[in-house]
């Protein structure tokens, strides 16, 4: 079904290109070449996808417990800030420094996730409201902390550049991909996908979390402490988004800007939706989005098609995956009718 949504989205994009007087075949050719043409561009597509894998996983994981995590943006921002802070403060050898930075990102994101979890468990505050509030708290925290302690050399609105030792970019990988943005964050993301899939499918923790998500009453009847699971689920979701922050701010980028909520936070919702909330589905959806994002510049440079078309395609795909239940139902009806005619 997500494939159908993807194809329908691409078709809608083709119609748009044609309607604006462009050749859709040419447009798509450049769009995909922009994302895949050479090893460097492939690397960039993967690097763009990396934070989306994390935020998508974050949203999907919370969703399995019946929670809607709108707060991936804030969790990501705080995770990125914590990692940057560690990276700019300590002069340790790269392996040690990166390890501590990643742990800091996890702790930061988890802390931002645990607060809405606790509010929901203790006071029944809806997590959508709480996570949106947390996004703005993260926004303003970064707004004040970064200029106060990590001010950039030339600009007030961003932090200093992190040194090589504190970057997830490593020279062998950058060289392998001909100077691309790809970094260790991508491998962290793969590990995260594997770990989350394992937790959900094979562990008692995953069993409990899903039980609470599917039917909270039955879970409580069976002696599962639903509130504990809600807090835990939000904590893990926050940690994943926090890791995404590290992958973005000290991997893809080299500094953190103030006054911006990362769009990957909300895109994570779309990724999770298109990936049907399954870890490997999220992985695939994020790569697809990464490809479209990194290819749109090239399409724009080579044709007269505005880059907004790529964003429109993404939006259309989201629209189609959101209505996938509807599509599925009509699909079934169609098949039934064909079957009935036999």
């Amino acid at each position: 079904m997500p494939l159908v949504a993807g194809v329908l989205g691409l078709l809608a994009g083709a119609v748009l290109m044609a309607a604006t007087g462009n050749n859709p075949f040419q447009g798509y050719a450049y769009l995909f070449r922009g994302g895949l043409m050479n090893i460097e561009r492939i690397g960039n597509s993967l690097a763009t996808a990396t934070p989306l894998i994390f935020t998508g996983l974050s949203v999907a994981f919370a969703f399995k417990t019946g929670l809607f995590n709108i707060g991936a943006a804030g969790q990501m921002l705080i995770g990125g800030m914590c990692a940057t802070a560690v990276g700019l403060t300590f002069m340790w050898p790269k392996p040690l420094l990166l390890t501590v930075m990643i742990i800091a990102a996890i702790i930061g994101g988890a802390a931002w996730g645990i607060v809405p979890g606790l509010l929901k468990a203790k006071f029944n505050v809806h997590e959508v409201v709480a996570t949106i509030m947390m996004n703005w708290i993260a926004y303003w925290t970064v707004y004040y902390v970064v200029p106060a302690y990590f001010k950039g050399t030339y600009l007030e609105t961003e932090s200093r550049r992190i040194p090589y030792a504190a970057s997830l970019k490593v020279s062998w990988l950058t060289d392998m991909f001909n100077g691309s943005y790809i970094n260790l964050g991508f491998f962290l993301a793969i590990i995260a996908v594997v770990v989350i899939a394992f937790i959900l499918e094979r562990t008692t923790l995953g069993y409990e979390l899903k039980a609470v998500g599917y039917n909270r009453h039955a879970a409580e009847y069976a002696g599962i402490r639903a509130n504990r699971n809600i807090v835990l689920s939000m904590m893990i979701a926050g940690a994943l988004a926090g890791l995404g922050g590290a992958a973005f701010y000290v991997g893809y980028a080299s500094n953190i800007q103030i006054g911006v909520l990362p769009s990957q936070g909300y895109d994570g919702i779309a990724v999770s939706l298109l990936g049907t909330n399954s870890p490997w589905g999220v992985f695939g959806a994020a790569i697809f989005f990464g490809l479209l994002h990194s290819g749109k510049g090239f399409m724009n440079a080579m044709t007269k098609i505005p880059p907004e078309i790529a964003d429109t395609i993404i939006a259309t795909i989201i629209y189609f995956s959101a209505t996938s239940i509807l599509i599925e139902r009509n699909w079934d009806k169609l098949r039934k009718r064909m079957g009935g005619a036999k």
Binding site: T204, K210, Y214, N215, A218, E220, Y221, G223
Partner: protein, 508 residues
């Protein structure tokens, strides 16, 4: 004059993994009440959904008034004069009776809906069939019985000639059931024909002319109700002889297992739903709690099982105070609970049957070890319980719990709870909505628990069930214990009066 108004001939319908209808023929005579009898999951609903156009048959033909038809969707069924009164009403709660009835076929005056002329037609139909509905009453303000009559009225308003009633009495009180039967007779007198889907034999005997029995998707036969005994009908439905009386020997009560002392519990409206309630259940006995719905049974059960906090009083299990223990600790203290609402509490419908079977024990060996699930042990366990408790599912233990019929879902829950080998079994409405075969089976397993020296607390709204199963009966009214009587020396009348709040001493 043609003989049959509706004929379904040699209908076959397959779903993945199961043949729901296999070569079934049902012929409805003009002006008769024709019962369709079968266990839960036998294929009754599928057959009627085919007639109503919700499903297409894989094979077979449907004739209406002698003419072969293709019922592609419910609108076609409507046009053919076939109407269905669903088990779960499909009404808009903040609309009036008339608004609900005309929904989808509003008569208009210009661009305004002409409620007045519709209401007068509703009034007229109501008089004609003795339905007694107020056209201007809001649905949310009227009783369940009245809502059902609105559903019937919807069909009549659309000039339905054939009415399908899907388990119409399952939501009604005894008085409302009597009224419904009167209405059905009126409908027949006015020339309508009725198909009555049910698994309640008493109703069939009371009202139906002929009865078609299906079992596991196969047609068993069509019989004249007047010349067929209840026992024979039950046998056709279940495939073996059924006893309506629960066989049990004298009870031999032992130690006190459950002791409830002066328990008071708040209900959802934050007033005392249970007041100063005390009761004891000993090993080897079944104590029944009888009462009209909503008189404190839910509060009592939830306070014992830990789903709700007690306001005051104590609960002791095997002499240990469990009043403040968590649900899991209570389960570990050997308490099992067959919940009243199997969909809300009993099962996680989106989980497979095997995952549901380990709901309370998933964290213990062999089902998991250091936090990792052992899929094989889980699967084997489910197969064992399903085998032992005759739980049938299309894809075995891997089936979604949602896909099981109500009876099989309930048997799965009963199996899971008994498999935990509890000292105390709390069974709340254990046979709600089940057919005689499943009821007999579950009753047998509950009595078997008693005979093995377990304590059983049975809470049921069905007086018959309590009288049949329990050794002692506690009657609850308005949250208070009215009295405890021995099942041996009481009867329906006495318990019924006590349920209405009359204490034993007051009965002259």
């Amino acid at each position: 004059m043609m003989d049959y108004i509706v004929e379904m001939l040699n209908i076959r319908k397959e779903f993945p993994g199961i043949v729901a209808n296999d070569d079934i023929t049902l012929q409805l005579k003009h002006g008769e009440i024709h019962a369709l009898l079968g266990e839960n999951g036998a294929g009754k609903s599928t057959l009627m959904s085919i007639l109503f156009g919700l499903y297409q048959p894989d094979r077979g033909t449907i004739k209406v008034r002698g003419k072969q038809v293709n019922i592609a969707n419910p609108n076609v069924a409507n046009d053919l004069g076939i109407g269905m009164v669903h088990q779960h009403f499909k009404l808009v709660h903040n609309f009036t009776v008339t608004e609900n009835i005309i929904l989808g076929m509003e008569t208009k005056k210009g661009i305004v809906v002409d409620i007045k002329s519709a209401a007068s037609r509703v009034e007229e139909l109501s008089k004609k069939y003795g339905l007694n509905v107020d056209p201007y009453a809001k649905i949310e303000d009227v009783s369940v019985g009245m809502q059902q009559r609105v559903e019937i009225m919807k069909m009549l308003y659309r000039n339905a000639e054939v009415l399908i009633f899907d388990e119409p009495t399952s939501v009604l009180t005894p008085q409302e059931i009597q009224d419904l039967m009167k209405i059905m007779r009126n409908l027949i007198a006015e020339g309508k024909s009725i198909i009555l889907i049910t698994h309640k034999l008493n109703e069939i005997k009371a009202i139906a002319d002929r009865c078609t029995v299906i079992r596991r998707g196969k047609l068993i036969g069509t019989v004249d109700v007047a010349s067929t005994t209840k026992g024979k009908l039950a046998e056709m439905m279940v495939g073996r002889e059924v006893s309506f009386k629960v066989e049990k020997k004298e009870c031999e009560p032992g130690e006190v297992v459950l002791r409830v002392e002066n328990l008071s519990v708040l209900n959802n409206r934050k007033v005392m739903g249970l007041k100063d309630f005390s009761i004891e259940v000993r090993s080897g006995e079944i104590v029944g709690v009888a009462g009209v719905e909503g008189n404190g049974q839910t509060e009592l059960v939830e306070a014992i099982t830990g789903l709700r906090k007690a306001a005051s009083g104590r609960v002791l299990l095997n002499g240990k105070d469990i009043t403040d223990l968590s649900i899991r600790e209570r389960i570990k203290s050997k308490m099992a609970h067959i919940p009243e609402d199997r969909h809300k509490y009993g099962l996680i419908l989106d989980y497979s049957v095997e995952d549901n079977m380990i709901m309370k024990v998933y964290y213990q060996e062999p089902y998991s070890k250091s936090g990792l699930l052992n899929r094989e042990a889980i699967h084997r366990h489910a197969e064992k319980v399903m085998d032992e408790f005759d739980v049938r599912a299309g894809k075995g233990a891997a089936s979604d719990a949602r896909s099981l019929s109500g009876g099989n879902q309930q048997k799965a829950i009963v199996g899971r709870e008994i498999d935990h080998d509890p000292d105390l079994l709390i069974a709340v409405q254990p046979t709600r909505g089940l057919d005689v075969g499943a009821i007999e089976y579950i009753h047998k397993r509950i009595v078997e628990q008693r005979d093995r020296g377990k304590a059983v607390l049975l809470v049921s709204l069905e007086l018959d069930e309590v009288l049949n199963l329990a050794d002692r009966i506690a009657i609850i009214n308005n949250g208070e214990l009215i009295g405890i009587v021995d099942a041996k020396d009481t009867n329906e009348n006495e318990v019924g009066l006590m349920m209405a709040g009359v204490k034993r001493g007051d009965i002259a």
